[in-house]
Assembly symmetry: C2
């Protein structure tokens, strides 16, 4: 197995970091790697905001569900879908609001994000995606001075790991991977996986949490629907048609 595969297969989110700062040339490599990702029709429809200002960090921490690593991680990047740049370049011909443009911007930002995460990991750093940036996207957009047609998709904390969490086992391959056409998942396979994840949580929390995967999914969906997203995105100029 090569280094890249090993890196990917050993991925786990890091939420606790040492005080060691991230060198500027390492951060530069991470951004260059992000930019090297594939991009739909070469549009490069995303922007990355590197939030260094500690006052803004503290505000963002509160807006992102009080996750203290948003404030304390050595690096905090916000990946944004960005059609504003395209619109500027296209001058009068650009038509705002197509859902396809939203998909392009979202995918471009996500591909860049995943390259950034792997680049960081290849340099000995660790990190975690912060979906909580969408808890209060309007306020986040104001703090980061995002123009219309730019929206915060996820944050990313990066730094040197100060924890060694276990790798979280993914769904069995046959549930995610289908040959030729979509097939419904096998119940016994799901049950076995549910048990595995329950054991994982029990071990990690010393018995306090014993959720199966199915239970954890249920909890997530009762808590975090972010019901404001459609209106927020439409106000920003996305998904209007």
């Amino acid at each position: 197995m090569n280094q890249t595969l090993e890196l990917m297969l050993s991925h786990r989110s890091i939420r606790k970091f040492t005080d060691q700062l991230v060198d500027a040339h390492h951060l530069d490599s991470i951004i260059r790697a992000a930019q090297a990702a594939s991009t739909s029709s070469f549009l490069q429809a995303y922007s990355i905001i590197d939030v260094k200002d500690q006052v803004v960090r503290t505000q963002l921490k509160k807006l992102c569900g009080d996750q203290e690593y948003v404030e304390k991680a050595p690096v905090f990047l916000v990946f944004c879908g960005d059609m504003h740049r395209i619109k500027t370049v296209c001058d009068a011909t650009y038509e705002s609001g197509w859902t396809e443009a939203f998909i392009i911007a979202t995918v471009d930002a996500a591909l860049a994000g995943q390259n950034a995460m792997l680049a960081a990991e290849s340099l000995g750093l660790g990190g975690v995606y912060i979906g909580g940036i969408r808890n209060h996207p309007q306020e986040v957009s104001q703090r980061l001075k995002l123009p219309e047609e730019v929206y915060p998709l996820f944050g990313m904390c990066l730094g040197y790991p100060d924890q060694e969490p276990e790798i979280k086992q993914r769904l069995p391959k046959p549930i995610v991977y289908h040959v030729d056409y979509y097939s419904e998942m096998d119940e016994a396979t799901l049950e076995a996986y549910d048990t595995k994840i329950s054991d994982y949580y029990a071990k990690r929390t010393k018995g306090k949490i014993r959720d199966t995967w199915s239970e954890s999914v249920n909890k997530k969906f009762s808590q975090e629907k972010r019901e404001h997203m459609l209106k927020f995105l439409q106000d920003r100029g996305f998904i209007k048609k």
Copy 2:
């Protein structure tokens, strides 16, 4: 520089492949790498369809804008946003149609996709994303028997490269990367980049195409708005609120 960074920085899309088949254990590594990517709240809200059936491949080629590599690439994967599995697991409590769920599924599929692409490249393969899968998403969904709340986000052709395209230079870092808050791009920086890209196209097409980046972006947006996307996604159970 490490192997992973080198790999990312040398990425270019491959659209021409040798006849060499992709070994099953390599494909397995690619899928495992895809699954190892980060996933929002551990939802794993995506599915991968590996289209081997040559009849379906030929149909998909036509539906994806007649790109012959869709038919001929040794491997063709379709990455789908998948809330159907979550809905099944959540039983009666799941509420369909939240835009946030669409974002989660789209990002999860994209992160998995980028890991798959890098895993493939680390094994000596090359590939290209196929956004054209969204040209006729309803017909594609029928061919792949996708249930409601599953939608095709992009395809991916993989195989051993039979071409050696030049790396396409990305936007200058200051245009994409912002410190603390969003800043408008500098016109002179954009102009210099436009010239660079025009030279790149001229070289690649032996003078036939000389588009600047700004011109190529303009062309893309007059051609491919995929105006059907919102209705299609709503029919599938997404972005209804």
